[in-house]
């Protein structure tokens, strides 16, 4: 599965020029791709592919494989068991859903720092006494609906501020991050709110085909995200708005409205993530999702979405999420400190961004 193969492939390609070819080789090599040697025409096609979206994903696959190999060597059975893989996936699921929303916002030229806090607020709102009582009396879906509505509403506020209030995304969503967290604390009185609606837990803690419902939700959200970004008018508008907002506006695209939609979408994913969080921890808490926004941004950027907008990849984002959650797992399996983990994460982020900058510089140069 290669995303926007045409755009990626051709923007880096510059085949025929010595510079382009050399750069391509260098890039393929830096991603450890096999068979990318100079010369022979047979490898030309492969090289062109590797330089494009597919190549970027090959790099991510290799990075993930290296981490897995490291896990197998150091932790053996404990790492390579079905149970452990499920654990990894379950942990990846919440950040994963958030990251899909974040991919859209970033591709559209923005950033959303509030999704972690909004997750916390939604988890509280969905577990207040009033909501849970209502859910008990009627249906557990009330809790889900509450979480999604709260998330989306916060996203809409972000979107209004950014698109119509002309507030810089960083600041608008920073304000939302702080105030959503504060509001959650006020509502919950800083208490953890246990989920008492058993029907809710029954549904979301279940396994389907041996795989946790949480993982399925992640799969569905990611698949839907891929389709929307690559195959729909919404996705095309997102790329246009992030790539050149002025050109999009002058082509008749309603840039402000679309920006609003993007933040609303990110809020919606925060609501979905809140439901998943409730299922995993069986409680709502104002501290849920702390720093998740940064994990999501890291996953998106490592995945290859341009931080300045205009190019996004859901497949890359999924790999980014898996790389970080597997890394965490490997470190935990080896009883390494979370501090060492944090350092490794930092190194990976910097490496990915450096690669990305070189990529961007090269495509500008042509």
């Amino acid at each position: 599965m290669s995303e926007q193969p045409s755009s990626d492939g051709s923007s880096t390609g510059a085949p025929g020029t010595a510079l382009g070819a050399a750069a391509t080789v260098e890039r393929a090599r830096s991603e450890g791709a096999p068979g990318a040697q100079e010369g022979s025409p047979a490898t030309g096609w492969l090289r062109a592919r590797l330089a494009g979206g597919a190549g970027r994903n090959v790099g991510l696959v290799i990075a993930l494989a290296v981490i897995c190999a490291f896990g197998i060597i150091t932790a053996g059975e404990r790492f390579a068991s079905v149970d452990n893989v499920m654990t990894i996936l379950r942990l990846a699921a919440v950040i994963g859903v958030l990251s899909v929303g974040m991919t859209f916002v970033i591709t559209g030229g923005g950033i959303d720092l509030s999704i972690g806090a909004v997750l916390g607020l939604a988890s509280i709102w969905a577990t207040t006494l009033a909501t849970q009582t209502m859910a008990q009396d009627t249906h557990w879906i009330v809790m889900v609906f509450t979480a999604l509505a709260v998330g989306t509403a916060c996203g809409v506020v972000n979107g209004l501020l950014v698109a119509y209030g002309r507030v810089v995304p960083f600041i608008a969503t920073l304000a939302m991050m702080v105030s959503a967290r504060g509001l959650a604390e006020m509502i919950a009185n800083r208490q953890t709110q246990i989920v008492k609606v058993n029907a809710f837990l029954d549904v979301f803690q279940a396994d389907v085909l041996g795989i946790s419902v949480l993982v399925w939700i992640f799969v569905v959200v990611a698949a839907a995200g891929w389709v929307v970004l690559n195959r729909t008018t919404f996705g095309r508008r997102t790329v246009a708005v992030g790539g050149n907002p002025e050109a999009a506006r002058l082509a008749g695209i309603k840039v402000n409205r679309h920006t609003l939609y993007l933040y609303a979408l990110a809020g919606l994913t925060a609501g979905i993530a809140a439901v998943m969080m409730l299922a995993r921890t069986t409680a709502g808490s104002s501290t849920h999702g702390q720093l998740y926004e940064l994990d999501a941004i890291a996953a998106v950027v490592v995945g290859g979405t341009l931080l300045i907008g205009g190019r996004g990849t859901i497949v890359g984002t999924v790999f980014g999420v898996l790389i970080f959650s597997t890394l965490t797992n490997v470190f935990t399996q080896n009883n390494l400190s979370t501090s060492a983990q944090a350092v490794a994460k930092g190194v990976i982020i910097v490496a990915a961004v450096l690669l990305q900058q070189r990529f961007a510089a090269r495509s500008r140069a042509s």
Partner: protein, 516 residues
């Protein structure tokens, strides 16, 4: 008028003033273009030397060479009788050459005094001497007749005129012998212009020379001593005395191109052709006012004027990209909602913007997605894109417009300027737009491709499109259009059929007509 021009200026009585600068045979290439192709310039101490020339004549490049921002490829610069190679702006300043660019280069967040001494702060032992800087700044401002500006004021709170004063104070804070002023009056009202001229008179009396660039002949007559005229990167007239050179001669020197473009001949517009676009009394506060014109099917209407006259803004307002303060834009008699690009596009208007790369194209996206940027939703089934249909439709346009290379999947960045422009046009043709607004359609397009763009515009008109062309190249507007509106200072000052006016006539209107 001419006599009054040489007003109370005192100058060295004894014969010829000392020669300050002599540039000979300056050549500067840019990739794909020769910006300067043998320019000579000679400046004496204490004179106001005016540089005259059309857009693209090489004035900006020349002053950048002088300021050390560009390094010339050939030619010699003699400064105070010695050979000089200015390599950096700092070196130029050290030699005594200061430049005031048109887009004022002050830092809004700093105070007046901090701006004046930006880059050469008064300091001792690493600490800025703020009191000394303030005192020096106050002196400079008083010398410039603006003792009212406080050195502690944040520059962002000053008007454009105020910022210009700060910029000039900065120039004078160096030990300058030559100040280059690039269209200094563009941002000033008439009272401020008078003050500027007073300051110019004062600093030249002190022996500092000024290189003065302006399009306004009336100003040149008031402050200038001698004129050098540039055309197509060459000096075509040098050291002409202001007082004795008639306007006619100056304009003749500026026009009369060496490279004549071939414009396609077109059949006259039918008398009964439908009026597609009508602009009635359109205004945008502070930019232009009371602009009215109409375009019929098959007609090409040109807006001629200088940079900053409001041409581009008029187009953008017609298109809804700027919100008009008054007046109406009507398409087939229906008034459009002001300030809505969407409404304009829906009504069948398409704009090819002035800055193609920053305003028009998604450079990293493939060509076909740029071509279908205004139509992809129409091709979609429900919300799902139909990229096959998009590609097919883009392909049709690519073939029809002879866009090269004919590959819809190619990254738009890799196309030449001419082919990028074709992609812009294709975007509106896919949509079936019948009203096309073209802002600088051949900017960044090489000579060969220009002819193609011209032929394309003619063909579109022949097929019934209503076209509005804006260009800073007057011969382009005259060559393409059936009817021409001359824009100056935000107003249409003259309207006539294109064959009833020539380049000379247009320049005469915009240069003399714009007397402050």
């Amino acid at each position: 008028m001419v006599d009054e021009a040489h007003h109370e200026r005192t100058r060295p009585a004894s014969g010829e003033p000392e020669l300050l600068l002599r540039m000979t045979g300056i050549v500067k290439h840019f990739p794909g273009a020769k910006a300067l192709d043998g320019v000579d310039l000679e400046i004496r101490r204490g004179e106001v030397h005016c540089l005259l020339g059309q857009n693209g004549a090489g004035k900006s490049t020349l002053i950048k060479v002088l300021a050390g921002a560009h390094r010339p490829d050939a030619g010699e610069i003699l400064w105070l009788g010695e050979r000089m190679t200015v390599t950096t702006p700092v070196a130029a300043l050290r030699a005594g050459i200061a430049t005031m660019y048109q887009e004022l280069d002050v830092v809004d967040g700093l105070t007046v005094a901090e701006n004046v001494f930006l880059g050469h702060e008064l300091a001792s032992g690493g600490f800025t001497q703020r009191r000394a800087a303030r005192a020096r700044t106050r002196e400079l401002l008083e010398r410039l007749g603006h003792g009212d500006i406080s050195p502690d004021l944040e520059v962002g709170r000053l008007s454009a005129a105020g910022k210009q004063i700060v910029s000039m104070a900065r120039a004078l804070s160096h030990d300058v012998r030559l100040i280059v002023m690039d269209e200094p009056t563009a941002v000033l009202d008439s009272g401020e212009v008078d003050n500027l001229f007073r300051v110019v008179a004062e600093i030249t009396a002190a022996g500092v020379a000024v290189v003065y660039i302006s399009h306004r002949l009336e100003e040149i007559r008031r402050v200038g001593d001698r004129i050098t005229v540039l055309k197509d990167g060459r000096t075509v007239g040098t050291c002409l005395p202001v007082a004795e050179t008639p306007t006619d001669d100056l304009i003749r020197l500026m026009t009369g191109r060496t490279v004549a473009h071939a414009f396609p001949t077109r059949a006259p517009v039918a008398e009964d052709a439908e009026e597609l676009l009508a602009v009635e009394g359109l205004g945008l506060r502070g930019v232009f006012s009371d602009v009215s014109f109409s375009v019929r099917a098959g007609q090409v209407v040109g807006l001629a004027g200088l940079v900053g006259s409001g041409r581009s803004e008029i187009l953008e307002t017609v298109y809804g990209a700027r919100h008009a303060d008054g007046g109406a834009v009507k398409v087939r008699g229906q008034a459009l909602r002001p300030g809505s690009v969407h409404a304009a596009v829906d009504a069948g208007i398409g704009l090819a913007p002035e800055e193609r790369k920053s305003q028009g194209l998604l450079l990293d996206e493939p060509v076909y997605r740029n071509i279908t940027l205004a139509t992809f939703a129409g091709f979609a089934r429900g919300s799902f894109l139909d990229e096959r249909a998009e590609r097919a439709s883009a392909r049709e346009q690519i073939d029809a417009l002879d866009l090269r290379p004919a590959d819809p999947d190619r990254s738009t960045r890799t196309l030449s300027g001419g082919n990028q422009q074709k992609a812009m046009l294709a975007r509106w043709l896919v949509r079936g737009c019948r009203i096309l607004l073209l802002d600088e359609p051949t900017r960044g397009v090489d000579v060969g491709a220009r002819a193609e763009i011209y032929a394309l515009i003619a063909e579109l008109a022949a097929r019934g499109a209503a076209v509005v062309v804006v260009s800073s190249e007057i011969d382009e507007v005259l060559g393409l259009a059936d009817r021409v509106h001359v824009v100056s200072e935000g107003r249409i000052v003259h309207s006539c059929d294109a064959d009833q006016i020539d380049e000379h006539g247009v320049l005469d209107l915009v240069m003399e007509g714009s007397a402050a």
